[in-house]
Symmetry: C2
Subunit: 200 residues, 2 copies
């Protein structure tokens, strides 16, 4: 399940679709929910620039960067819950990460636990008690290097992936936003080249 | 804030817009999120009929009717949270009711409390601690008669309101779905006529 939410890096939807095809997923659903109507983030408001060239100290300072999209993961999980309940699925997987992350409140384990509790009260199981939703975040406590290595072991072609917040119209990564820097740093620590194409 | 979610009773959006105008709200925002793509409810799936003529015993039996829309109020509150956080609002009002309700899991106080806890972890305040979201549900514990009386005291023109799940294309209420029956029963107990136009 991917979300076409008016993100600046819409290119990630093409990447998700290619990867879904390679791994033969049963269905790749792209849900439209325009978060530009609220704005408030560099990812969804045309007038707010994506910060570039921040160093490790700035990224680790703990203040929430302007790339945070208000309540985004709550919206995503709520919609995933709606689909899951309809088809009778109880395991919701989400790729959030709280180690090499950018200080986003909705990437933290306490948020995921709270959402899971809400999900189990919000739905039929909350009344009928016949099932239990789980929010699964397998990447949550892994470093970006560990994630890269696990992906390599599982056969991920990182050339198909996309991380940049501010790609060119052709989908080239900028190499300078937080997301690119965290990714490039991790690839360099792992000691292999990042196969994604960068502007620089 | 209203939601154009593909509901069969889209007419409620016109009603909401008229009432917003009468009361001079600062802004009435209608958010599009198509829940028909998941279906699973008589309100969002064309192939599922709205139950009619259920008696009080059937409505009070405690089983969740097919008009329940999977995770709908979680989706609504998540989007309301996104807007609230963007504009710096902390009070989210929702019109759910757990007394004369139809057995919906996401109209219960325990759901609202869980969502409130999630909201305060999902957003900037969860990290920065500068504010606290409240989910306000002033109608939660009122009977439908009490709601009608309170509205009358506050100057609500019930002729502008809409409750029916399955109105005609012109917006006439069916008078036979759970929502119409609960409403009609309440008006009759209060002892005043319901000014809304019914098919019957």
């Amino acid at each position: 399940m991917s979300f076409d939410y008016g993100q600046r890096h819409r290119h990630e939807l093409d990447a998700a679709s290619k990867i879904a095809k390679v791994f033969g997923v049963a269905e790749h659903r792209v849900v439209k929910i325009d978060l530009r109507q609220f704005g408030g983030s560099a990812l969804t408001a045309a007038g707010i620039a994506v910060p570039k060239d921040r160093d490790e100290k700035q990224m680790a300072a703990g203040d929430i960067p302007i790339t945070y999209v208000p309540a985004r993961n709550t919206v995503f999980l709520a919609l995933a819950l709606a689909w899951a309940e309809t088809i009778g699925a109880f395991d919701l997987y989400v790729g959030v990460n709280c180690v090499d992350y950018s200080g986003y409140p909705d990437c933290r384990p306490e948020f995921l636990r709270a959402f899971e509790a809400t999900a189990n009260l919000a739905t039929r199981v909350g009344v009928e008690g016949t099932g239990h939703f789980r929010i699964r975040a397998p990447l949550l406590h892994m470093t970006k290097e560990q994630i890269i290595c696990r992906g390599l072991a599982l056969g991920v072609d990182y050339g198909l992936t996309h991380s940049c917040y501010d790609p060119t119209p052709e989908g080239l990564a900028c190499g300078r936003c937080d997301s690119c820097r965290l990714r490039l740093d991790a690839f360099s620590r792992v000691g292999i080249p990042d196969p994604v194409r960068y502007v620089l």
